[in-house]
């Protein structure tokens, strides 16, 4: 059997005409674009027109399950969404766990393309061969969790449910969708895109199943992987702490606060909102199908203003860092409450907290006054955050400006505000390189989506400073970086050229996105390039080598770049925020931007040189940032 792993079909839905069309997936696409993100991007290349407005009916929204989603490959659970997003006009791809990707696959489909605008609120119901556009007037206006509960009541709790909240209905650019109450999908405005189409939700359940080409071989390999995960010595800790896994390694953990200008007092973040709190509030762990680490949580506040309050979270960092620490709440239960509000409204809480912090910073600096805040006296506290979050959901008042993100806020508050903004391509930034200058910081500059990048977790440089060079060299070998590239990466005065290294981390992430494998470290570390190639071969029946798989990864990253180059993005959009060249202050200490091993301070010229290096490593034009015709030909992307 060839073509296993895939269900082999695409659903096209036009919400305006009501047409629902099922088409067989062209087998040539699988050979050329592999699957998952690769085929999402092929669809984007064919269907997203450069002149189309993100919130117009014509803007398609493309969903796709990874190739191994639906199987028992550990952690293969991701569904990808690709669309032109209203935040910044990029053609952006996001990923989420939860059960939607599996259910779509088990129902008999890999991809779902939705265009048009329904005249009234609707949701899409997929149950094997029965696909219906159903009325959603009873759901419109409800928050995401209530909508999901209602749809589970109608479709059974097996169903994978993706829903938007009030922020999406009201077309806020920071809106996203949420899958099964535990996984966010589509930062930068998927919620608004769905809202603009009057599409409240998608509910899918399937009973057709998915086959693989060599079931015995596949079972043998996945059993080995599952055994490996079981015996992974840090698994228990990962399951307990999830994304706070590394916090305990840093007893003096400090983080940027006060809008990227100061460092929190050592230990404060962990003491008030960290590991001890998570251990206390964790009520249940929730796994995406096939996942061995169950990082999603049901949590319940045990103290504070909201003692007893229970909610579902994709991770605890939002309540702890985005709200507790950044808004100086003093009481972790207030952070849990704000996380719950944001998730129910369907607002990206990290972005919301960052934009609120930005506004408070501008207010403190006198750049904006109560005239711009429409009467609000802004300060870092619970009431300010709650008020602005409610305004964001309703798209009213100051929150109504902030919910459209940095581009809208800068337009409203003027260029002086823009100089203070810490953002890339209109998107907030997750990691401050003044703490650790690793692959996650660098890709924030050059990846197409902007600061809230698409490469989480895979870089060994991301969360741990100064890992020995030998360790990073071994990682390069494990993930299949070519020998000549290894030489280029490590022949550098910093010991490690972070720009060139980032290229290979991105390509590895691309490969993960073919399969839909989660990038959380405890999952990702089980997959070296040889294992991934074997899985591909056993699932599809088409033999592939690790090198060929890496080439797929590079091809996909380039196709993503091509789509966005066609949209008009170029090197001038790959910006480095001014703030990164200013010190982070804490007491009498200063932390400045330095290389990964903290041997030398990095200037703007150094960063521009690194961007040159990155383009060169990718075979892209250094002047424009566009993929060179020669590289595209080499990757068979001359005519996608």
């Amino acid at each position: 059997m060839s073509g296993g792993g895939s269900a082999g079909r695409i659903i096209y839905v036009h919400l305006g005409s009501g047409e629902i069309r099922k088409e067989n997936l062209d087998p040539a696409w699988a050979k050329r674009y592999a699957g998952g993100w690769g085929i999402n991007l092929k669809l984007a290349w064919d269907l997203i027109r450069p002149e189309v407005d993100p919130l117009s009916p014509e803007n398609p929204v493309i969903f796709g399950s990874g190739l191994l989603v639906g199987t028992n490959a550990p952690g293969a659970s991701k569904i990808f969404v690709t669309a032109k997003i209203p935040l910044n006009g990029t053609v952006s791809t996001a990923a989420a766990g939860g059960g939607l990707g599996h259910q779509l696959k088990w129902a008999g489909y890999d991809y779902l393309v939705i265009t048009g605008r329904s005249p009234e609120p609707v949701y899409l119901s997929i149950q094997d061969d029965t696909i219906e556009i159903r009325k959603a007037s009873h759901l419109w206006g409800l928050d995401i969790f209530d909508t999901t509960d209602r749809l589970w009541a109608e479709h059974g709790e097996r169903a994978g449910v993706m829903a938007i909240g009030q922020a999406g209905e009201n077309l806020g650019n920071l809106s996203f969708a949420y899958v099964d109450k535990v996984a966010s999908l589509g930062k930068g405005g998927l919620g608004a895109i769905m809202g603009s189409k009057n599409l409240k939700a998608v509910a899918a359940s399937g009973s057709r199943g998915v086959e693989v080409a060599d079931p015995k071989g596949f079972r043998k390999l996945t059993s080995r992987l599952i055994e490996g995960v079981k015996n992974y010595p840090h698994r228990e800790r990962w399951m307990k702490l999830s994304t706070m896994y590394s916090w305990e390694s840093f007893p003096n953990l400090t983080m940027p606060i006060k809008y990227w200008s100061e460092l929190s007092p050592p230990g404060q973040a962990n003491e008030l909102y960290g590991v001890g709190v998570l251990k206390k509030v964790r009520k249940a762990s929730v796994a995406c199908p096939s996942c061995p680490i169950a990082c999603k949580k049901v949590i319940q506040a045990q103290d504070g203003d909201f003692k007893g309050f229970t909610t579902h979270v994709s991770h605890f960092d939002g309540a702890a860092i985005s709200w507790g620490l950044q808004l100086d709440l003093g009481d972790y239960s207030r952070g849990i409450k704000l996380t719950d509000m944001a998730n129910r409204f369907g607002i990206d809480e990290i972005a919301a907290s960052d934009l609120i912090n930005f506004a408070i910073h501008l207010f403190d600096q006198g750049v904006i006054t109560e005239r711009e805040t429409m009467g609000l006296h802004l300060k870092r506290d619970f009431e300010t955050a709650r008020t602005l979050l409610e305004q964001m959901a309703a798209k009213e008042g100051l929150g109504g400006v902030l919910v459209d993100g940095y581009p809208a806020a800068i337009k409203q508050f003027g260029p002086r505000a823009g100089k203070h903004a810490v953002q890339i391509k209109g998107s907030y930034i997750v990691f401050d390189p003044r703490m650790i200058f690793g692959t996650e910081s660098f890709t924030a500059i050059v990846n197409t989506r902007g600061g809230a990048h698409v490469v989480p977790g895979l870089g060994p440089t991301s969360f741990v400073p100064g890992r020995p060079l030998d360790q990073i060299k071994r990682h390069c070998q494990r993930i299949g970086v070519p020998e000549e590239a290894v030489t280029r990466i490590f022949d550098h005065p910093d010991g490690l050229n972070m720009a060139r290294f980032t290229k290979y981390i991105e390509d590895r992430f691309s490969v993960f996105n073919i399969f839909g494998i989660c990038s959380r470290q405890a999952v990702a570390m089980n997959y070296d390039s040889q294992t991934l190639a074997e899985l591909y071969t056993l699932a599809t029946g088409d033999p592939v080598t690790p090198d060929e798989l890496s080439r797929f990864g590079e091809m996909i990253w380039n196709l993503d770049k091509m789509v966005n180059t066609r949209e008009g993005f170029n090197r001038s959009d790959d910006t480095v925020p001014d703030r990164w060249f200013e010190p982070l202050r804490s007491g009498g200490m200063e932390l400045v931007l330095m290389d990964y091993y903290r041997r030398r301070r990095l200037s703007r010229e150094d960063m521009e040189q690194l961007i040159d290096d990155y383009y060169e490593e990718r075979g892209w034009e250094v002047q424009t940032g566009a993929p060179s015709p020669a590289r595209l030909e080499a990757l068979d992307l001359g005519h996608p």
């Binding site: 199943g209 079931p215 762990s285 049901v298």
Partner: protein, 82 residues
């Protein structure tokens, strides 16, 4: 509370440990229905995210594959006393 199911009394089930990963259903359906298809598995995972319900179907042969593939300790083999 850990319990047994009438359709498979060789397994002690602790639903409180279940995370809903469906690994048991995935391996069961692959082996007995030739595809990854929880709807055709002989172990049923239901309930809500913070309160799971686990049962076996009448077709279950107590082969223990689900126990081997459960990574959360939800399913435990009951040793027969001779």
């Amino acid at each position: 509370m850990p319990h047994r199911d009438p359709n498979n009394d060789k397994v002690l089930i602790d639903p409180d440990k279940c995370t809903g990963c469906l690994n048991c259903q995935l391996i069961c359906s692959l082996v007995y229905a030739d595809s990854f298809n929880p709807a055709r598995a002989r172990i049923m995972i239901g309930g809500s995210q913070d309160k799971r319900e686990i049962h076996f179907t009448e077709e279950c042969t107590a082969c223990k594959l689900c126990i081997e593939h459960c990574v959360y300790g939800t399913l435990e083999a009951i040793e027969e006393v001779v």
